[in-house]
Symmetry: D2
Subunit: 367 residues, 4 copies
């Protein structure tokens, strides 16, 4: 089956192919009475859109979103919100050879095996262009969260690109939007630029790691056992193209810790419990604790590269393939706003789930 | 909301608390006509059950499963299968202090904040005892898969425990069930025993990493975009108690690779495509390719330890807490059969999803 | 696929066969902190249970419910509630011939065609015994509604049995539980008793119509377009064994009305809008208006009768069949508490859905 | 919550308001490799579209559907199919008074109470214009069914309009598309025309009853207990605007029957079981038997009428309201193609569900 819907109560269904006339997201379950317009959503799309620096694909897409339904006189009505983005810079001629051949490391062969048919133009449905629709849906979630949880802040940034790692001692969130890498360290930007330019000139691509920090998330979100908040975040991130690993808090590193090291001790602050560390990444038993939520994921290198690789075509012939066209040398860069959008959708969905079951009331701690 | 159901078409709902009269799984969507009895399911439960070595909790539970519905004259009927396991060795007196205090790193505080009420006995619903129900459900999935995909083999094993790592050069799958660590290397068992004994004697606990290898999985499973096979596996593993990270194939390591390194080149074998490497972990674009599927996850150290930690109680008082009771020094060990069960459920669910949409037919490669 | 789960947020999965060891309901999504015990649920089961008068099956089942999970110290915890009812009076020997033959008008043949296997004992899964589990689940819903919507009242009663119709001028709700027919007219009971005794002695059975009146339901429940409140109620009632028609308000009679007749005019009362009639049955556009909700449905006559009917067996042989065993001469009678249970579950489910999306806030009417 | 999605595996989400820029359906779960183009879908839309006779609304909408995704080189790809219909003849000025007033019998007041905001233009989301999107989705289902179940035929027609009833002795399916009433009796058309003209001239509207006949449906479709085929059909029909009652086979009339009358006796034909009658309407135990499936439903009269009715406005003032604008005198007429579309979607959805669980294999009857 095809499941193109994400979320339980705040749910969106994305549709569209890389080189079709348009793509979009059908957003259902949005609370009514929330201020929303295209400009608000557009700011998120602009962060993700291609062609903004030499470090992303040179495809020029305005990625202009239109709201076709669900908003009346500047407010959501509680009915489905259709967000449409027209494709304007398709260049299908770039895809002559790909029509019959399978790029190594790409979804081409898997789609062919499953469906027996695929829109090969630009990767069709498996293209990262689908993520524009998610970012638009995430914009709706952000508008609702701004209203329902004013203190919430969702911030994505890169922590690794190939051999380069973020120096956490230099972390400065205010720098993230000032460079093409969503890097929270201005001093490292030149080195990252040189590195990626080198990769691109070597006709290669490179992987990346991204972190999303969610501050101000209320306690109590998460629906154990099988819709835990960390499960939902893991699924959200893993659903992004090219993602191969997801971590919450200590992540894979938790395997090396002892219980005494890993215990996030608790003291009592003025406004409630205060945790002395955050190995847990803000989630215990699948439920948010009110601490910062920390999610991290890896993105594999773009599989469409100019370096020749051995593969086969649909006829079963062995060939060497070079993928021309306009591809991101590090597809992980644009995963940053996508991940923020997914995080926003997950948090809102669980906020609605929680207020359904508990009415949003919290257990009391104190005298 | 509470979502205690896993799966789309082959779906199970687990129920029950650590110290209640019983727990179990309600399995829905099982194909009819499949041979199934309690003994078949019991073999999987026996691998997970506590008290089998000094390296797991000393709680003695027979974990005997009863099939209460959905099976008639030794075969499934296509109606819901109720699997019940009675709790027999609850010792609620162990939990006097825990009733009011929150163990650092444990779900106690999160459940209290969300629900305002919690069955504190043994962790109640957040206890790893819930996983017995999953393993039982996984047994049903295994029975169906044995029938529908005879060549499929799902194998879990530990790859790390704290400071110790599996030496992959010594990998021997036939050793996995011969030691208390599900370790595929007999030569390392003494060192692992000494290490864990040391941890336990230090009144501490330790984390772990587990890998699940799925061999013989048909190509074409996975429902892009939001029910991708890797998304489903990530969600399945992340839903297991104490899991903090999940990886497919290269996992977090993909961030360090270049596109030329990461491309799994393809040649044409006698029976179809042959991949020359498996960085992808058997999944491309969220769809299985027919290669081995490789999933890895980390488990944090048990939070219930005998070493005192700072925390608070429900009244908001700051205390030092020692958790008595019978706890696993490395809860990751018993995660192995749990992960196998979850993997079996995911594969079966996606097999049914695929045959719904495509009729199980595969796209052709070749002349 | 098998879908044995009802509801979106307050959801229950029923399991069990007529002659298996037990049956029950796994209830998920129940709000926490609600007072609940077995006695509260039992009162609803007692209304449905067989063998209470000569007008229902003579099978003697105590229908005693056990709560196996999800309730702690007398209150719900927000985790799944397992409700189990053991079968105690199975008499499988009654079903010798039915094992191979298909009762006309019964699900026997349909289950055989679909699944290729069926638990023929007492109709197995298709037996009305399944409804005991729903009534138990409905008891949980009633407990929650008592807490969340104190003024809500759900009342079922018979309006027709074969040739006999309720005289609405004599409607007296206080009489409903005083006779074996859930009939709101004491004066008609003797005639109904004679009629049904006649049917039974003629080795026949008879159909019925039931109405459920929901008073005090808040406005705003219902999730257009495809989870409208009337859609949910229709699905709920149609899912009950032997139901062949469902009506809201005017029901099928609406086909004969003109717009001027059908318009429920509105005036302004002290507490808000007052409707001068209720052709709509309390629901407009799929959303409750605050008026009384009126649902009606028909139940076909029991298909298991002592009068011989032509049919075939599994070998394809034509036979004449008499169904011995203990069957209800009018299965519609016991549908009354079942329908109340389903209505309670629907209302609660939509209450939770509504507070998720709107926070339970209502649009204002007035100066 | 807002649930604008219909179906389990073949699922569509409709979006759009009566007077917004466009409306449509996002169809997910469509099998791949099915021939599909806009012309095929358009034929179904043309039957429903307004303005084709004096007996429907005079709003002129071309109702031209565009396929924006999911179809490649004339075939479905298994990815979401976006169907968009632009609104071209909105006349919002017609709705001055309605903006603040609530039409009696209309969803206006319910939407206001629930959401606190509504797009009042033409009824916004509650308008029957939404059904254009369903008919488009139904066209996709019809394309798939044509391929998977060649013998299937779904036929809708009117059986009642106010005081007029179809004479079943004159039933002639070939006449259905030859008159503006979808009436299977040419001889009655003049009387129906006169009757409806009279209603319209009296500034009134009238109710209707519609029947859908499904011939050639395979046995075995339906997912007991809570996704029975009749439950799904009842939900599908009840979700259509203005529907107040749904019947399967004997429907509400089953309440008057005895068991001997109601039993559909079975004999053995050359190709399997043959039923001697069809009181059941083709469904037993929620599962299709291979007989013709018969569904019937009532549609209330259009609530927007020119005859003044008492009501209130948003300020709580009592007023008399006349609804101007372009409205159907009998909204039931256009419900015919809508019901066919819903039936097609239900059958396909259950066909996919069935092949997921049983692989589409049927239990054997015979030697």
């Amino acid at each position: 089956m095809s499941f193109n819907t994400f979320g339980h109560l705040f749910r969106f269904t994305t549709w569209g192919e890389s080189h079709g006339p348009a793509l979009g997201a059908t957003v259902d379950g949005c609370p009514p009475g929330i201020a929303l317009d295209e400009a608000f959503i557009q700011q998120f799309l602009d962060r993700r859109k291609p062609g903004t620096s030499k470090h992303t694909t040179q495809r020029k897409e305005a990625d202009e979103v239109r709201i076709l339904s669900g908003v009346f006189e500047g407010k959501t009505t509680g009915t489905p919100i259709q967000l449409m983005i027209e494709n304007t810079d398709q260049r299908s001629k770039d895809y002559g050879e790909i029509a019959q051949a399978f790029r190594p490391g790409h979804a081409d062969i898997a789609y062919h095996l499953k469906y027996g048919i695929r829109d090969y133009r630009g990767g069709g449905r498996s293209s990262a262009r689908e993520t524009a629709a998610r970012v638009a849906a995430g914009g709706v979630a952000q508008a609702v969260l701004r209203d329902l949880v004013p203190g919430l802040r969702i911030t994505g940034y890169m922590t690794q690109m190939g051999a380069l790692h973020l120096d956490r001692d230099k972390f400065d969130a205010s720098e993230i939007l000032n460079n093409p890498f969503f890097l929270p360290d201005a001093s490292a930007v030149p080195a990252w630029e040189d590195y990626l330019t080198g990769i691109r000139k070597a006709q290669d691509s490179v992987g990346a790691a991204i972190e999303v920090l969610i501050e101000g998330c209320p306690a109590g979100l998460g629906a154990p056992i099988y819709a835990k908040l960390d499960t939902a975040l893991a699924a959200a991130m893993m659903s992004i193209n090219a993602v191969k690993g997801v971590e919450i808090g200590e992540g894979m590193g938790a395997a090396a810790l002892t219980g005494t090291e890993n215990a996030d001790e608790i003291i009592m602050g003025n406004d409630g419990p205060v945790f002395l560390s955050n190995h847990a990444g803000g989630i215990l038993g699948g439920i948010s604790t009110g601490q910062d939520i920390v999610v991290r994921f890896s993105v594999k290198p773009t599989s469409s590269i100019l370096t020749p690789r051995r593969t086969i075509n649909q006829k079963g012939e062995e060939i060497e393939l070079i993928t021309k066209g306009r591809h991101d040398p590090c597809v992980g860069i644009r995963a940053v706003p996508i991940a923020e959008a997914m995080a926003a959708c997950v948090i809102l969905d669980h906020l609605l789930l929680d207020r359904a079951q508990t009415g949003g009331q919290r257990g009391h701690i104190g005298g």
